[in-house]
């Protein structure tokens, strides 16, 4: 019972954090994120000299994250190519003690299996996740070259079936940002799995 109450309090704390709003500056740029072999990196390092930064808060098990995973990887791989010059990072926010499928080993294993060409790292302190106000997986945050949030939300409007997608929110935001055009849809919503906070 005590454990249940504690979890409830933690979740309540998590959802009380305000999500970043479009126009906000990228926070937590110095938070160390852990990747393969324990290698640490920060958003500041990843974003340096890039046209923009795409941060995808995701995980290995959530059905929504899994359903969107191939599209996340395809977009990420496509946009890290040199001519597009975008920093892309997938961040796993979950406490691996509560979510055993989200250990660092399993994150690395997943990124290799699915051919990520961008870092898929662990927010071991959960400081970045909390600073972003992220509450669920998956959630996309796109920042421009000034580190200002220009899009927040879902990848597209159908997690289940890519063939039935009618709105490719993230790709449209990326294309608009690349061409210096106005991003028409800047905030979207989808369901997802609650982040497992400590």
């Amino acid at each position: 019972m005590k454990q249940k109450l504690l979890i409830a309090l933690l979740v309540a704390f998590a959802v009380s954090a305000q999500a970043l709003k479009v126009g906000d500056k990228m926070p937590a740029t110095d938070v160390k994120l852990k990747g393969e072999g324990g290698k640490e990196m920060t958003l500041a390092e990843l974003a340096k000299g890039k046209r923009g930064t795409l941060v995808v808060i995701t995980c290995n098990k959530c059905p929504y994250a899994v359903a969107w995973e191939r599209r996340i990887v395809d977009i990420g791989n496509d946009w890290v190519q040199k001519e597009k010059n975008l920093a892309v990072v997938a961040i796993n926010p979950n406490d691996p003690n509560q979510s055993p499928s989200d250990t660092l080993d399993k994150i690395v294993e997943r990124s290799k299996k699915e051919f990520f060409k961008f870092p898929y790292v662990q927010d071991t302190t959960q400081k970045l996740t909390k600073a972003f106000g992220a509450t669920k997986t998956p959630e996309c945050f796109l920042f421009n070259n000034k580190g200002v949030l220009v899009y927040h939300g879902a990848l597209d409007d159908n997690h289940k079936d890519e063939k039935k997608v009618t709105q490719r929110y993230l790709r449209e935001a990326l294309n608009a940002m690349r061409h210096g055009e106005e991003i028409k849809v800047t905030e979207t919503k989808a369901m997802g799995c609650s982040i497992k906070f400590r």
Partner: protein, 162 residues
């Protein structure tokens, strides 16, 4: 209109289908019709999914709440956010939880459904909304909560004069 009538019938318990078959597709607008249907002093809407750990952990408290406060006028409305092809798992889950009244399955795109219920909701599960008998929203929770949290907010509404 036909949908509302059949809904009223379902909520009044006049359907004779086995409970595990009474999982009806629903949009946010239809759900709000169900909330406003006469006969309840308070309504709790809980959006869950069978793949959502905190939802499953919270669920028995809501079932117990319904059992304890049904006679005082609580209407409990469970809405699964599972995909339609996950219906067998939804029915199995409800049967295991001992839910013997009609429930629903989200049948609308996420963003329309989320904003249709409450624009403050970011889509995290579980989400629970509390309404009074007139259909006015009185509280809203995102994330797992416990029996007492719900009960503390529910009781004063049930005790209000009609």
């Amino acid at each position: 209109m036909k949908w509302v009538l059949s809904l009223l019938c379902l909520l009044a318990g006049c359907a004779r289908e086995p409970a595990d078959k009474m999982v009806k597709p629903v949009t946010a607008a239809q759900l709000l019709d169900a909330v406003r249907a006469p006969g309840a002093r308070a309504v709790l809407v809980n959006v869950y999914a069978t793949w959502c750990g905190p939802c499953k952990e919270e669920f028995p408290d809501l079932v117990k709440l319904e059992q304890n406060y049904r006679v005082k006028g609580l209407r409990m409305i469970f809405v699964s956010a599972d995909d339609e092809d996950n219906m067998p798992a939804v029915k199995q889950f409800l049967a295991k939880q001992g839910v013997t009244y009609p429930t629903f399955l989200k049948a609308q795109k996420d963003m329309e459904f989320i904003n249709g219920l409450d624009s403050r909701w970011d889509g995290s599960l579980p989400a629970t909304l509390l309404y009074d008998g007139a259909g006015k929203q009185r509280d809203f929770w995102v994330g797992m909560k416990d029996y007492k949290t719900f009960e503390d907010k529910l009781k004063p509404i049930l005790e209000e004069k009609p």
